[in-house]
Symmetry: C2
Subunit: 321 residues, 2 copies
């Protein structure tokens, strides 16, 4: 059931620098953000989430979203996307004329988390997604991608039932249809690091049974050390699309950001895939260099183990049988 | 295929403090070693590897092996084992009268590594294991356990073929038989962190096919971030015995010990098992406290993510369906 190749969406510049900047909005300079994205462009990664168009008062560390987009060198064949949680953010992204618009709508499995993070209850969140979907349509974009946040569990509400996910996935399909689109991708975000490998497999199996043509994606965090086991579990179910963050950015327990759970580390996922014979299109050696650069930018040890241990010595890498 | 319960052998005090002490033999005091072992005894762990009877000139940080054994409070029902790489070490362990003797013999899949680590080539290593087995017999101990070091790959020789493992397992069975014993447990040590989940599954499948009654054990390192995925892979194949180290001791990349690859972290394995419904007999909350104490002793951040993120809030832990 393992896929022969996977696509990786690099979210380090967005999610990583968002968490790094909590309480220190100017910690990472715009120039460094641009340098990191440009370096990632040279590794073979084809999708890079660059920044977040959120309210600068709420997330001041992302206030330079327009500057970041304007400053990077877009490599042909690479999609430079961004995040927008509402219609205002989407309008800002559209206004740059340089953001790859993914036509993505998002619902959250935990209403408590939704109220805290997006300041909307489930009904308001649903209405907001309809509004965003309509805006995509108005601007000629397909609503092709949907995401469920806190899909596995929530620090306020506990674990998430498969039935809840099925309900949300149904709603997301309805919103897309209303906008004249058909969902192609459904992403599961383990926002607070609750997933375990068996749960990942159960959820994938249930959703795939109902929507066999939907491409499934995982956005996993390594909050409690199970990140890479969850990736492997998803691969075993044939999942072939993952959000990952270079160096494991997106929160570092060693920096005292206890609430900030790091994403699964891009180079570790690339390494896992290489070792078990799955193509990623990414040059692991180049990526390890970029990861070391990311570590330098943030100024503290990052979660990545690969960059400290190094990958296996050249010439010894061929898998024996 | 998941087992309903697993046994964990805690190797933190031995492997952790061995690596911590490289170049700093007095870094961890004997008193702290004893305190950590005594604290581990209260967590529900039933097997604790306490120290290593190796030559004090070669591994000076383990020179206090006898003192450690003499100083700990042995809790009834807990086995306090130790390491001995040759007959001299075994005699020292026997002389204490307080070490739980496991009757373990060990071969190494990489001859280059064997020469560097044990100063013996494959033939010399084989002969040494015969000698050790005879000594076990002489002292009334069964040769019940065997181990293969560098079972998945070696930084000098590359990946290890399944055929090589089958050959070594055959030799280990012969040595045990010669000593009038029958092997009950075969352990695979990923000494240099080369294992990947698919390789773990292939190796387990091959060995189990040949020796269906043998209990298989994994001693996995998290050198390149795949440790917990390898644990999950082994669980999927029904493996129910693991060596683990509290806090992920056994080398910490953040301490600059690049060569020292941490063991998979006990509390993360316990956490994984709890989340997917496998019994370990370990009190996770108590273990997390002990892990924080281990972190204090070593004086630098440890690899464990569970102790930084914390386990899920009480009352929210029941797995939803």
């Amino acid at each position: 059931m393992l896929p022969s190749k996977v696509e990786l969406i690099e979210v380090g510049p967005r999610e990583g620098f968002q968490f790094e900047g909590i309480g220190e909005p100017d910690k990472i300079s715009t120039a460094d953000k641009i340098r990191l994205i440009d370096a990632l462009s040279e590794t073979g990664l084809k999708d890079i989430q660059t920044t977040s168009f959120v309210h600068p008062k709420q997330v001041p560390q992302m206030a330079d979203a327009e500057e970041v987009i304007a400053g990077i060198t877009q490599k042909p064949g690479v999609a430079y996307s961004a995040i927008y949680l509402n219609d205002v953010g989407l309008k800002r992204a559209l206004a740059t004329g340089k953001v790859h618009i993914t036509g993505k709508i998002t619902l959250t499995a935990s209403e408590t988390f939704s109220k805290r993070n997006q300041k909307r209850d489930s009904q308001q969140d649903y209405e907001m997604q309809r509004k965003v979907a309509a805006l995509f349509k108005e601007n000629g974009f397909e609503v092709s991608t949907a995401s469920i946040m806190a899909a596995f569990g929530c620090n306020y509400e506990g674990p998430v039932a498969v039935s809840r996910i099925m309900h949300l996935a149904e709603q997301l399909h309805q919103i897309a249809e209303e906008a004249g689109s058909k969902l192609k991708v459904l992403s599961f975000a383990d926002t607070m690091g609750w997933a375990n490998p068996e749960q990942v497999r159960r959820m994938v199996t249930a959703v795939r049974e109902r929507w066999p043509d939907l491409r499934l994606r995982m956005h996993l965090h390594d909050t409690r050390g199970l990140g890479i086991a969850n990736v492997y579990a998803a691969l075993l179910e044939g999942v072939d699309s993952f959000d990952t963050a270079v160096a494991g950015l997106g929160g570092c327990p060693f920096a005292g950001h206890k609430a900030a759970a790091g994403n699964v580390c891009t180079e570790e996922v690339v390494f896992l895939c290489r070792e078990i014979g799955i193509e990623t299109g990414v040059d692991l050696d180049k990526l390890v260099e970029v990861s070391r650069f990311a570590q330098k930018i943030v100024g503290h040890p990052v979660p990545s183990k690969v960059i400290n241990a190094g990958v296996q010595p050249a010439g010894l890498q061929t898998a024996a049988q």
